[in-house]
């Protein structure tokens, strides 16, 4: 008797298996906590990424470097969306982690240099430092039962203390190794991110190579956060945001979940801080001041804090608007940002991008019904 179980099937099942594997992967990226699902959404996503990849071929180096500058901030915005939009705790001091990591990158690379890919090791150390600091601060806040608006007050106070401290480090005694902190003028002279390569290191100046690295990082972080927010962890975060007492009475240690969300957000703000410092080779105490602390709140609120996609799109839109206003309107740009925040809070509290996306979704469903 012939055993047919090992014979090759006449029907090739590989494409079907590949399709179901792809669907399983997609299922991790989709869910009730994030906008967008299905083949149409992911087709648009691929097209947008492809367009972003093609963009440097149609723009000059300065403009591409400027686009890279916009991408630098998206990590801090997405981190704030996790803490504020998903976990319901408004942090007004993400810039503390931004500044801490930025200065850490400067101190490390000025002292050690950029060879053997150390700039990337410094990036990891600085981001980890921001994460650890977020863990310590978050522990005292969440395990100390600080809630609501007081989280904003504590985090804002921390970033302002950092700014004030760094601003008075102008004297020569304020140096770590050969890295001068330099007070209000800020720290300069750190190298850009540098890739070790055969025949000579490649320094990622604010041009095409840095743009591609940042674009890749943005896509990775965005997709990673979609997976995280649609996991059990993300479910618990939105449960805490909606009704913390009920979440605890379902057996969740809500302090731990809030702390973890805060660490994720702090580390992402730290990533922005390092990339900003590497992008411009400088960092100043201003980056932790009141204005700097308020801007991420505006970006995230305008896009729609409760959705990571809306936050990402909104941040890029507001940043480009802000830069245009700064070029033509100088200090009035900040007044416009403040006015924008007030208008959003009053007229579209869910955010412009998320509100628009929900409207399109409703209209599509109505037409389909």
């Amino acid at each position: 008797m012939t055993d047919i179980s090992h014979e090759k099937s006449l029907v090739d099942s590989a494409p079907i298996a590949r399709r179901s594997r792809a669907r399983r992967w997609l299922s991790h990226l989709e869910g009730p906590q994030t906008f967008g699902s299905g083949i149409a959404f992911w087709t648009i996503f691929v097209l947008v990424v492809a367009a972003a990849c093609a963009y440097p071929f149609f723009a000059d180096g300065w403009t591409v470097g400027n686009a890279a500058y916009f991408l630098v901030w998206t990590f801090m915005a997405m981190g704030l969306s996790v803490i504020w939009g998903y976990a319901g705790a408004l942090s007004f001091g993400q810039t503390a982690f931004f500044g801490l990591a930025g200065y850490a990158y400067g101190v490390l690379t000025i002292n050690v240099g950029e060879t053997y890919g150390f700039t990337f090791i410094a990036l990891v150390i600085a981001v980890a430092l921001a994460g650890v600091f977020a863990a310590v601060l978050g522990y005292f806040m969440f395990y100390g039962r600080i809630r609501g608006v007081f989280i904003g007050i504590v985090t804002l106070s921390v970033t302002l203390v950092f700014e004030t401290f760094m601003a008075q480090t102008a004297g020569p005694q304020w140096a770590i190794g050969s890295a001068r902190l330099n007070g209000f003028n800020g720290m300069t002279g750190m190298p850009p991110l540098t890739v070790p390569w055969f025949g000579g290191d490649i320094a990622l100046w604010p041009d095409r190579p840095l743009y591609y690295v940042l674009l890749a990082l943005t896509v990775i972080v965005y997709l990673g956060l979609r997976m995280l927010l649609n996991s059990r962890f993300g479910n618990v975060l939105v449960a805490i945001r909606e009704n913390p007492e009920r979440a605890e009475m379902l057996g969740y240690d809500i302090r731990l979940y809030q702390l973890l969300a805060f660490v994720v957000g702090g580390a992402l703000a730290g990533l922005s801080g390092v990339l900003y410092t590497a992008w411009g080779q400088y960092i100043t105490p201003n980056s932790m001041g009141l204005t700097a602390a308020a801007l991420p709140v505006v970006w995230v609120a305008v896009g729609g804090r409760r959705d990571i996609t809306a936050t990402l799109i909104g941040t890029l839109l507001v940043l480009s608007l802000f830069q245009t206003l700064t070029i033509y309107g100088s200090q009035y740009a900040l007044v416009a940002m403040g006015a924008l925040l007030v208008l959003i809070v009053l007229l579209a509290p869910e955010g412009i991008v998320l509100g628009f996306a929900n409207l399109v979704d409703r209209l599509t469903k109505r037409r389909g019904a």
Binding site: V236, E242, L250, G251
Partner: protein, 239 residues
């Protein structure tokens, strides 16, 4: 077997004593109601059991384990489940999401979905599974919370006025649900004002008054108790 026991449980806020040396015992499989006039300390007693208030003295034992110092979430993980007086649901999330969040600590994959389907059927919410929980009627929101509380098969279910704001039909249906859950082995302790509902569900009743146990017994014992009628029922029981 005793499932819940309190020994000399004490709590006061300022000069107000909400629990005065409460010695309370709940046997496994009971359907027990806590009644008492407003301010008697019923909700405070619940909050002490749940760990939302720390007692000033005394002990709380669950399945013979001292949980007096355990945090709320840790007590829930040991098998206590709760339904609040004001529906404690996640109003912006769908009914399905509410149940997912309630059960995901214990169940995964197909088991999770099968349990959600079973509970949706049990609480008659299968048709509105994708609706936001906040869009449900008050009675449906109460049922959703009961579903969230029982899907993980707790050992003890605490209900704080489970029929508050319900129509007579909804109240009766809730009573039937609780009997079914009790038959499945879940011990139930409920704070309730509606004496008709207490008569429908309770095997034993405890009357609290000024933070202390005033009387205990079957429903008919309590109704016949002259002192209870004076402090709580206003001279008679009207249902």
């Amino acid at each position: 077997m005793t499932i819940l026991k309190t020994e000399k449980l004490k709590k006061s806020f300022g000069g107000v004593h909400v629990a005065r040396d409460i010695d309370f015992t709940l046997e496994k499989g009971e359907m027990h109601c806590l009644i008492g006039p407003n301010g008697a300390g019923k909700s405070s007693f619940f909050r002490l059991i749940l760990g939302e208030h720390r007692p000033d003295g005394g002990k709380i034992l669950f399945m013979d384990e001292d949980i007096t110092d355990a945090r709320s979430f840790a007590r829930i993980r040991k098998g206590i489940s709760v339904k609040f007086q004001v529906p404690g649901i996640f109003k912006a999330l769908s009914v399905h999401q509410n149940l997912t969040i309630a059960f995901q600590n214990h169940l995964h994959g197909h088991d999770l979905e099968a349990t959600i389907a079973r509970v949706l059927d049990f609480v008659s919410l299968a048709d509105v599974a994708t609706e936001p929980a906040g869009a449900l009627s008050h009675g449906q929101q109460q049922w959703l919370e009961i579903g969230m509380a029982v899907g993980v098969e707790p050992k003890l279910l605490l209900l704080d006025e489970p029929t508050a704001g319900m129509s007579p039909d909804e109240t009766h249906k809730t009573g039937e649900m609780l009997h079914e859950l009790n038959a499945q082995g879940i011990t139930i302790l409920a704070v309730e004002h509606d004496m008709a509902f207490v008569e429908q569900i309770a095997s034993r009743v405890t009357v609290l008054h000024f933070g202390a146990i005033f009387a205990q017994g079957t429903v008919s014992d309590i109704i016949a108790h002259q002192g209870v009628a004076e402090i709580y029922l206003g001279g008679g029981h009207g249902g």
